[in-house]
């Protein structure tokens, strides 16, 4: 009975509503916004941030890509299109004659970067890629290389100059511990 009267009293004085109003008033008085004023202040990106994709070069300016199409095969959203060709005058070597990325479809999973045997793809920390025309997000090889140039100013040496064993296989063994000489 006493409980019933208490419940009834709570109903007629709008107890629950008053509790809610107290909560909102507390937030008003102890005003601590969690908003970041985005264009003026930007949050710190996590270390493993996966941003815009790019194509990389060796330190002598030759592009790394060997035109193997593995990135195209790995991509779940069919972002990448590679047209492979022989390097003129060097029949054993291939390169990507044309390389397109349709960034409107990319979901930034990073599978292409993992699939690449020569580490020719890199994920930068750029994310401000809003454009007025959707077609501006259909990037060709030159654009992707330009992104890589500005995002990774420090370039790797050619593989065969890094270590003789690596040069033999011409692939990057990212899982193996580095060899001690």
């Amino acid at each position: 009975m006493a409980m019933k009267i208490k419940d009834w009293l709570k109903t007629i004085i709008f107890y629950e509503i008053l509790v809610g109003m107290k909560a909102t008033l507390r937030h008003l008085l102890h005003y601590k916004p969690i908003t970041l004023q985005y264009p003026h202040e930007k949050r710190t990106l996590p270390d493993s941030y996966r941003g815009m994709l790019s194509l990389l070069r060796y330190d002598d300016g030759i592009e790394k890509c060997v035109g193997c199409d593995l990135c195209e095969a790995a991509c779940p959203s069919r972002v990448i299109k590679v047209i492979s060709a022989e390097v003129p005058g060097e029949p054993t070597k291939r390169y990507a004659k044309e390389y397109y990325m349709d960034m409107t479809r990319c979901l930034f999973c990073g599978l292409c970067v993992q699939a690449c045997p020569v580490d020719a793809l890199g994920m930068t920390r750029e994310y401000e890629w809003a454009v007025y025309d959707k077609r501006h997000l259909y990037l060709n090889k030159e654009q992707l290389l330009a992104i890589g140039d500005r995002a990774f100013p420090v370039r790797e040496k050619r593989l065969e100059l890094q270590h003789p064993n690596v040069a033999f296989f011409n692939v990057a063994f990212t899982h193996l511990p580095p060899k001690t000489s």
């Binding site: 809610g20 109003m21 909102t24 008003l28 969690i34």
Partner: protein
């Protein structure tokens, strides 16, 4: 002849001043609402236009002014253009009988002139109720004339809601009218002079606190504000009755909503919280400063009105929207009996212990 001219000039100036103050308050309210809501929800509100976003209402106004004016295909053009005016004019016209300050009479060029109330008519509160009912037509016709299902649903909901809750507003006011013995807002305010226990919310012989609560809730419902914003429920009906409106017509609906908020706040302050009376007589300018009474009186009135406006924002930040059946049940099965019981008890109390 000169007298008529002076009278006309005075009245027009008064109307212009009141309209200017109301529209400026609306401008301020649009910013204040977004800021207060933002602060209550740990956000910042508008921050871009001007320092701390204080020029946001100007930017909004300019944007609405330059927007394309669209009349949807198949809409009833006459009613579609008429509806925003039908909503706005009754909301603004109600301010004619609100006493913003003490009932002074000034003589200007031989004409008796009351500076703080545009027209002290003896059916004041009835006049306001009648005109706010016309405002509902604007919403209903706007919803119907748009030739859109969302607008129509919003208009229908609004019709049902306004009818149910206007009844409660009217009945909640009756208690005050019984105690004051007048319909004129000036007389009602004057009946509450002195200490704050003379205000009708606490007044002997029977405090109108229940009527006050019923009035505030019904007023929120009548102005279509959250948690009773079913006519414009954006998660269900896009924007309800003004889905198809754009540009200045949309702005008129917007102005009407905020003007209505100010109007019901003014009525609540005048009827229940003593209007321009201070909680204690010594808090007004008195004695040697008595000629400045109007200043403190208008400030007290503004404080009360702004308290109610803040309450509107506060409720909006706190409460989710009611379901339609809850709204109707609450209106008819809870508020109506309370209002009727309040009338009964107040009538008996006023008969047994008449106010001197």
């Amino acid at each position: 002849m000169v007298e008529v001219g002076v009278k006309l000039a005075l009245s027009l100036t008064q109307i212009a001043v009141v309209m200017g103050v109301v529209l400026l308050t609306v401008m301020f309210l649009t910013l204040a609402e977004r800021k207060v809501l933002g602060w209550m929800q740990d956000r910042m509100g508008p921050m871009e236009v001007g320092p701390y976003g204080i020029l946001q209402p100007v930017a909004d106004g300019l944007k609405l002014f330059f927007k394309e004016d669209i009349v949807p295909a198949g809409a009833n053009k006459f009613l579609f253009s008429m509806a925003p005016l039908l909503a706005l004019v009754p909301a603004l016209i109600g301010f004619a009988v609100i006493p913003f300050g003490p009932d002074l009479t000034v003589e200007v060029f031989g004409v008796q002139f009351k500076p703080f109330v545009i027209s002290d008519i003896n059916v004041g509160i009835l006049y306001i109720l009648a005109f706010t009912s016309i405002g509902a037509y604007g919403i209903i016709l706007g919803g119907w004339a748009s030739n859109s299902k969302y607008s129509l649903l919003g208009g229908l909901r609004s019709a049902a809601q306004v009818i149910s809750y206007e009844l409660n507003v009217g009945l909640a006011i009756v208690g005050v009218l019984l105690l004051a013995g007048s319909l004129s807002l000036v007389k009602i305010t004057e009946a509450q002079t002195g200490w704050f226990w003379n205000w009708f919310i606490f007044a002997p012989p029977f405090p109108q606190i229940f009527a006050f609560v019923v009035y505030v809730i019904s007023a929120v419902a009548e102005t279509n504000r959250l948690p009773f914003d079913l006519p414009e429920a954006e998660s269900e009906l896009v924007a309800g009755f003004f889905t198809e409106y754009s540009g200045m017509r949309f702005a008129f609906f917007f102005l009407a909503e905020y003007a209505n908020m100010i109007l019901v706040s003014c009525i609540a302050a005048a009827l229940f919280l003593g209007g321009w009376n201070a909680p204690a007589p010594f808090l007004q300018f008195h004695g040697s400063l008595a000629h400045l009474l109007w200043l403190s009186a208008t400030i007290w009135f503004a404080v009360k009105v702004y308290f109610f406006l803040f309450l509107f924002f506060w409720l909006r930040a706190t409460l989710p929207r009611l379901r339609y059946d809850q709204l109707m049940r609450f209106g008819w099965k809870v508020m109506l009996p309370i209002a009727l019981g309040n009338i009964l008890i107040t009538a008996i109390a006023a008969y047994l212990f008449p106010r001197s």
